[in-house]
């Protein structure tokens, strides 16, 4: 009898579809949510169905909620003292170097970018058979939002180092230290280490541990957050993100 079949009797993918569509009753939804926490395959199926069915919302007309809603949400997340200023946050810290060194810094950053994109020498080591590997040269331009590159990062496979260049904000009242993170596609951020900050200009080489070299590849995201001296106490970014960018092949 079709009417008495349970959702799960049709397999996890159909249950995921029914959960995302929203046709399950309260107890079935709760069971699906428990499974979501425990069953990675099911969670994956749910994520795929979210992607498939999301465009069903295309015809829904946007409606503006009360302007107070944003303040309520930010107060709930960040505390009541951060209603208007929260939107400046780490962006404000970048305004500092923009207004002081902006023109020359951006010009320098772009110049470096051009040099990196059009390397004059070989981009990387040669394979034993003499064929240059396409994956040997990696490059990322870390930006603050849509702004010009803030920090340029180049991976040197010879030395296993990431070479960073560009200006970084260092006007913050509290002592902070920039920390570099890599986020492989679909994974959590992993620390690549702290960045030396000399008079507000990053000129640093970050050695990449053998276990992280494999994570450096096209599509991975590099990000810099401001952390307490000594680095993030939790192993995950805790402070504001000042620059983010995607790794590309040279």
């Amino acid at each position: 009898m079709t009417e008495h079949e349970t959702p799960s009797s049709h397999g996890p993918d159909l249950l995921a579809a029914e959960y995302v569509l929203g046709v399950l009753d309260v107890s079935e939804r709760e069971a699906a949510e428990t499974r979501l926490q425990e069953d990675a395959d099911f969670a994956d199926a749910v994520a795929r169905w979210q992607g498939r069915l999301g465009p069903l919302a295309a015809p829904v007309s946007p409606v503006s909620p009360s302007p107070a809603l944003k303040r309520r949400i930010e107060a709930a997340l960040f505390g009541s003292g951060t209603t208007e200023t929260s939107s400046t946050g780490w962006l404000g810290s970048l305004v500092f170097w923009r207004t002081t060194t902006a023109v020359s810094a951006v010009a320098a950053a772009i110049a470096i970018a051009v040099n990196l994109v059009q390397p004059t020498g070989p981009a990387g080591p040669l394979e034993p058979d003499g064929v240059e590997t396409s994956s040997s040269g990696y490059f990322a331009a870390l930006r603050d939002g849509d702004a010009a590159p803030v920090i340029l990062v180049r991976f040197e496979p010879d030395t296993g180092e990431l070479v960073l260049s560009g200006p970084v904000a260092s006007d913050l009242a509290d002592p902070v230290q920039p920390e570099l993170w890599i986020i492989p596609p679909g994974e959590a951020p992993r620390s690549l280490g702290l960045i030396a900050d000399t008079d507000g200009v990053v000129d640093s080489r970050v050695p990449v541990g053998a276990e992280l070299v494999a994570a450096i590849g096209e599509g991975a995201v590099l990000a810099i957050s401001l952390e307490p001296p000594g680095g993030s106490p939790t192993g995950a970014p805790t402070g504001p993100v000042i620059a983010v960018g995607t790794v590309q092949t040279l």
Partner: protein
């Protein structure tokens, strides 16, 4: 809106950027409120669902997988979950009879940009379903109704509605990702 923008912002939100969260809210809140309002038919409750949604977005942004769903689709899923949870709770205490609204078929220019080719593909695949199949799927999505509620609204047996929707979902999957 640049369809890639929500994705870039979600990545920054996952790293704790409040300004990215603020911008993400600014460019997506009206769409998500429209979605929760269609489900809850009550501005105050729909705003609470949007609030639940963005709290979850802040906490779970790192779980978003760009290889599985567009950022906008993921945000809509988080918003619909918040609205449906509220709808189910409300109906447990005071069942409401609300007539389903017909889906608004007009695509705004903005939506076409947000969903880009995704919406066109889904639209084509919905067009390949039978009339009842696409009608029930759209209605369930828009209203957040459970199987029994869809059946009651359509005045059809529950078993019929379940098998029509299940068949439609499997057809959609095969149409969107032909093996």
């Amino acid at each position: 809106m640049d369809p890639e923008r929500p994705k870039a912002l979600l990545k920054q939100v996952s790293l704790g950027s409040r300004s990215a969260f603020s911008e993400l809210y600014d460019i997506t809140n009206a769409k998500l409120f429209g979605v929760t309002l269609r489900i809850l038919h009550d501005r105050a409750e729909a705003e609470e669902a949007v609030q639940d949604c963005y709290l979850n977005v802040w906490r779970r942004a790192a779980k978003y997988d760009a290889g599985r769903a567009s950022a906008m689709s993921w945000l809509i899923a988080v918003a619909r979950n918040a609205a449906i949870d509220r709808l189910r709770r409300r109906r447990e205490t005071a069942p409401l009879e609300s007539a389903p609204e017909p889906a608004d078929e007009s695509h705004s220019a903005e939506d076409l940009v947000v969903f880009a080719g995704e919406a066109d593909r889904l639209h084509d695949c919905l067009g390949a379903l039978s009339g009842k199949e696409s009608e029930f799927v759209r209605q369930a999505f828009m209203t957040g109704q459970s199987y029994p509620e869809v059946a009651r609204a359509a005045d059809k047996p529950l078993g019929t509605v379940k098998s029509v929707i299940r068949r439609a979902l499997m057809k959609l999957r095969d149409c969107l990702e032909p093996s």
